[in-house]
Amino acid sequence: MNASGIPLKEPSVSAAAADAEQVERALIDASTRVPVLMFYTSAMAWLIIGTLLAGFVSFKLHTPDLLSDISFLTWGRVRPAHMNVMVYGWASMAGMGTAIWLMARLCRTVLRYPLLLVAGAGFWNLGVLLGVGGILIGDSTGYQWLEFPHYAAIVLFVAYTLVVSWAVLMFRFRRGEQIYITQWYLLGAFLWFPWLYAAGQLMLFVVPVQGVLQAAVGWWYANNLLFLWFGAIGLGTAYYMIPKVIGRPVYSYHLATIGFWTYALFSSWTGMQRLVDGPFPAWMITASIAATILTMIPVATVGLNHHMTMQGYFPLLRYSPTLRFTVFGAISYTVFSVVGVLISLRSVARYVNFTQASIAYSHLGLYAFFTMVIFGSMYYIVPRLVGREWRYASLIKLHFWASVYGIGLMTLMLLAGGFLQGENMENPSLAFSETTETVLPYLRGRSLSGLLLTASHFIFAYHFGLMLLGLGRTSTVPTFLNPVEAEGSEAHL
């Protein structure tokens, strides 16, 4: 299909109205500039640090003697450091940056109280820095996803309080009665996260629950962080970016409502499936497995909604970087959920429960889905903050393909390796060390995928740096991945 006939810019009703709207938007975008760029820049720094740590972790896993004599570089410390940098440094900060910008736009009001956000970003960075430093010097709490020592957790919580109070204030100043779908998700994310974080901290450290319940609380926290914090921001962003870029309303509000509420209801009940066959009352595990299966409802409705919105506009994927990243992320959300259901079924979990497959699952959710959506949103938002367009289409393409092949290869390697590892582990006639040997070739493959992702992140960071320095293109036309002229649609620009 030829791209002609498809608007590459937002349709304008009348010149005057459009101008007024343009000016209003420009004012709003300008007001978000400092805080959002602050969140984005910090996030990019953490992304690079996290990527370097990730490569180190990946290589050490199949080369255990690599720098193992230094206490703060031992695998068991670098791994949680990597995980926490990615979760709290990169993903949370980039997600908050996008969420803040979307909030301002959707509330149709200039960003008020920017100091709250600037202070929030500062404290958040401090918290992550303290936390990662704490893990490396051996202060990890030992709870997965909550390894940050208490002194870092407190700082993070303070930082978050600032951000969320800003979000609630913004809501009070919003204009217009209609609350758009994206706002439901963002409001949910902003309100769920502090409760989740506080509940996790409280039940693990302040008034700790007994024995195995700590693990239950831990996985409940981890899964809800994945779904209700990252997932909600990711889905909300996709709901904004896809219709925005193609200039067409969401296919169905009704479907979106169903999708949102079923998502909130079912995905919050997942988590215990990761403890399958562990020392817990069976009902807890079963409830979570059932909830995981039920998340197919929001997956189907959200997927259908996006698909129908995109219907007929898929050729635009050829041009718009934002759309390409966002649609890839939205599709990955479906893949992530389906894999999640598969590996939670008892008959499968028996094999993959203690293997690399669960790492594949986390990466599908945090990278293939969330991070790709956020990359997409950054390609949309950053030019509007710095007043320049992305300089090189080629770099965007490289970034995209390196990310896609990287995460694709990683997922395949970890899933395949995990299944084999699990199968061998369930074969007691094989010595245990053989089961770990089985997975080593796949881990080397994963390291290879890590190189691709590293390249992609450095490319993006370089490009982002150019934008920050004001070295982007000065142009009224966004940077397209492929020259639109070739298709003969200049008329629409």
């Binding site: 003697d65 031992t74 791994r79 030992g142 769920w192 817990f280 293997t355 369930e426 007691p428």
Partner: protein, 393 residues
Amino acid sequence: MKGLAPLFLGIFGTFAFSWVGLTLIPNWQIGHLDPQMEEDGSDAYPQPQSGMVERGAHVYAANGCIYCHSQQVRADYAADDIERKWGGRRSAPRDYIFERPVFLGKMRMGQDLSNIGARVPAEQENAPPAGAPSPAASAAPQGGAPTPGAAPPGANPSPPANAGSPPPKATASPPPAGSPPAAAGSPAAPSASPAPSAPAAQSPKAPPASPSPSAVAKASPAASPSPPAGSPGTSRGASPSSPPPKAPTGPAPKAPLASPSPSAIANASPGGMTSVSPGTPAAGAWPVQTTGEPPMYSAAWQHVHLYSPRSINADSNMPSYRFLYQVRRISDVPSDEALKLTGSQAPPEGWEIVPTYDAKCLVAYLISLNQSHPLKEVRSAAPAASPPAAPGK
């Protein structure tokens, strides 16, 4: 969607539902378990951690052991953990009531460790670091069944190394000190049989049958002077201020210790030291016990393994934890604690490698990991469930 109220209520409600459902209700259901004990209050299990063991748990957390090692045994119908000899029964919530943090784990790039302490060989019992306590506690019930006590309680010649340390506040009330019997004689039984089949002998079913021996074993610490130093009763409480064992005490470097199954603990008796030694060679496919190394799973072995995993198992994928050890010049006489390393790993002449305090705590913690004590609410695996088919673990 119009209006904020429904949105807020919905966001609040869905999350509250999950919070109550997945954390508060389970907390009400299994969040306040007590240790299991006999009617007279003896034989309490599990016991609170303390001292070095507790510190060891933090070393375990700090260095991320949890990212490769799980600590849970799944039921025999759900997985083959029991067949792999990772435990005699599935883990239950009660096993973990004193654990903080709890290290259930999510990955097995390394073995499951829930019963690593149960595999400590008999000699270990004589060696001090209270780390070794747990086996004793659990050994009794099991060992009791098969063999009548033969070993004289006081027979143990080894120094009560932990004498200096405060006696564990074991549960055992009345120390029937005189009779660490049942377990004592038993070493012969398990040791005689090759490891694989051993689990049968140790069948966790035995316990109810023999309440008394268990009480005995526990009691021993109280009776401090005579009893085997190694059996300070408490499974977690071992208060270990003393150094780690100088592993290969006696002539028994290659005993039956290979048996990864809890059966090993049956050996946990004073008499074991001598009677066991010449026993069968290790039967497990891994790790292969070679002469000259400390007995497998003993504290000394754990130290060598932590320091240089591949000197014990060339296929191991575990990183070395050398930073927990100190290389120092031998000042006067070589330290008892020095690692027995051979080949390229060995320190240069005149130097020795000794564990730091953290390393000792970590090993004490590892040795305290033991879920072989039967629980009333858990069906123990039938002896038949572990055919000798699987020497590997």
